[in-house]
């Protein structure tokens, strides 16, 4: 009987096409990725059926942690710098160029404005580990730092929209204090940030 010869086939597969696909996808993901900014505090947002996506630019973001600490953030670095200048004039604090540069890069922060220089002086890792006490919302003495922040930011960028990101478990009294401050600055319209959920039938 003649031997049936099975021709030996090479086991190596042409990887070129697969490589192409992989890198195509990789490029897509690199371009679409927007990294989650480092957050001052972990906030678990409530879900709603609201469908309006959050605007990309011109946002003033207030975050309220479960224990009621208030944090502030602007999305635009140029407005941040202008705000710092205004704060420096109004509160008579001088910021060094290094502190200004550090402020420009901070997404959200929550310290008393008078304590900003020492907060900005920290190096980034120490700052991330630092337990921020939250903005000073105290209104005794007829001035409110939160109201000043709202006023100055809006004066520097009048297209700013206000977003409030509150944790599910944040009590209403903390939330109310912020709203009072906003309303004192004639802001009656703001956005609550929620995650998407479908309406249960």
């Amino acid at each position: 009987m003649p031997k049936v010869k099975i021709p030996r086939k090479s086991t190596s597969v042409d990887m070129t096409a697969m490589c192409d696909v992989a890198f195509l996808l990789l490029t897509f993901f690199i371009l679409t990725t927007k990294f989650r900014p480092q957050e001052a505090v972990q906030i678990d947002i409530p879900a709603s059926t609201a469908q309006i996506p959050i605007p990309e630019t011109d946002i003033m973001m207030f975050q309220i942690s479960p224990d009621g600490r208030l944090f502030f953030g602007l999305d635009d670095q140029i407005t941040r710098l202008k705000l710092l200048q205004r704060l420096s004039d109004h509160y008579e604090i001088t910021f060094t160029p290094e502190q200004t540069a550090a402020f420009k890069l901070i997404e959200t922060w929550g310290v008393d404005i008078r304590r900003l220089p020492e907060f900005l002086e920290m190096d980034p890792t120490a700052r991330a580990a630092f337990q921020q006490p939250g903005l000073n919302i105290d209104t005794t003495g007829g001035q409110s730092q939160v109201e000043d922040l709202i006023l100055f930011s809006r004066q520097e960028n009048n297209k700013l929209r206000i977003a409030i990101k509150g944790d599910k478990t944040t009590e209403y009294r903390h939330f109310d204090r912020l709203i009072q401050a906003l309303q004192n600055r004639k802001v009656n319209k703001f956005n609550l940030i929620t995650s998407a959920k479908s309406a249960q039938e």
């Binding site: 992989a22 993901f29 679409t32 927007k34 989650r36 209403y172 109310d176 009656n188 319209k189 309406a199």
Partner: protein
């Protein structure tokens, strides 16, 4: 694709001896590169935030410096929801006129479809029967300090789901509110 034709033509420089360069395969093993590619894809896929958070617009009535006398709304068109601690809602409909004999029915609801949603739908029906238009219903949302943000979002959401046209977030200043707060042992301020 990754191969090229490497035909060596015209390599006769020195007539006598052919200088033949060794034919090397141009085929490169791409397995490692593919591995790397997929590794990076995995990383970016996990790092990216795909579903963006949504926003819910809230309009508060403007604070007026001087008291503007608004035409009082008929209480029988309203429903009041007081948001309390531990995910409870105290709902009542205050009568048009209050006197000593008035009895108020206070419902304690939760945020489930059978609680709050049913109450709103019932109220819409009642308003529909009484006034001929269910959009006349005015819902007053009065959060007590001990309620939380999720409660407010849920209530506002319920307004959208049930298509309530008129609602407002108010402070619990009404005498009835203080009574309710007292009864449920919750501070009003």
């Amino acid at each position: 694709m990754a191969e090229m034709n490497t035909s060596d033509s015209g390599s006769h420089k020195k007539g006598s001896k052919k200088l033949r360069t060794k034919k090397m395969s141009t085929r490169v093993d791409l397995t490692a590169m593919v591995d790397l590619g997929f590794l990076l894809i995995t990383f970016f896929m996990l790092a990216t935030t795909m579903n963006k958070p949504k926003t819910m617009e809230v309009n508060k009535p403007a604070k007026e410096k001087e008291e503007v006398k608004e035409p009082p709304i008929k209480m029988s068109k309203t429903a009041t929801l007081m948001l309390g601690a531990r995910n409870k809602i105290y709902a009542y409909v205050s009568p048009d006129e209050i006197d000593a004999t008035t009895e108020l029915q206070l419902d304690s609801l939760d945020y489930s479809p059978t609680g709050l949603r049913k109450f709103i739908q019932r109220r819409q029906k009642e308003v529909q029967e009484q006034w001929g238009d269910k959009d006349q219903l005015f819902v007053m949302i009065k959060p007590l300090p001990s309620s939380n943000v999720k409660n407010i979002v849920d209530v506002l959401d319920e307004m959208t789901i049930n298509d309530v046209k008129r609602y407002a977030i108010l402070e619990p200043n009404d005498p009835i509110d203080s009574l309710v707060a007292l009864q449920t042992r919750q501070s009003r301020k």
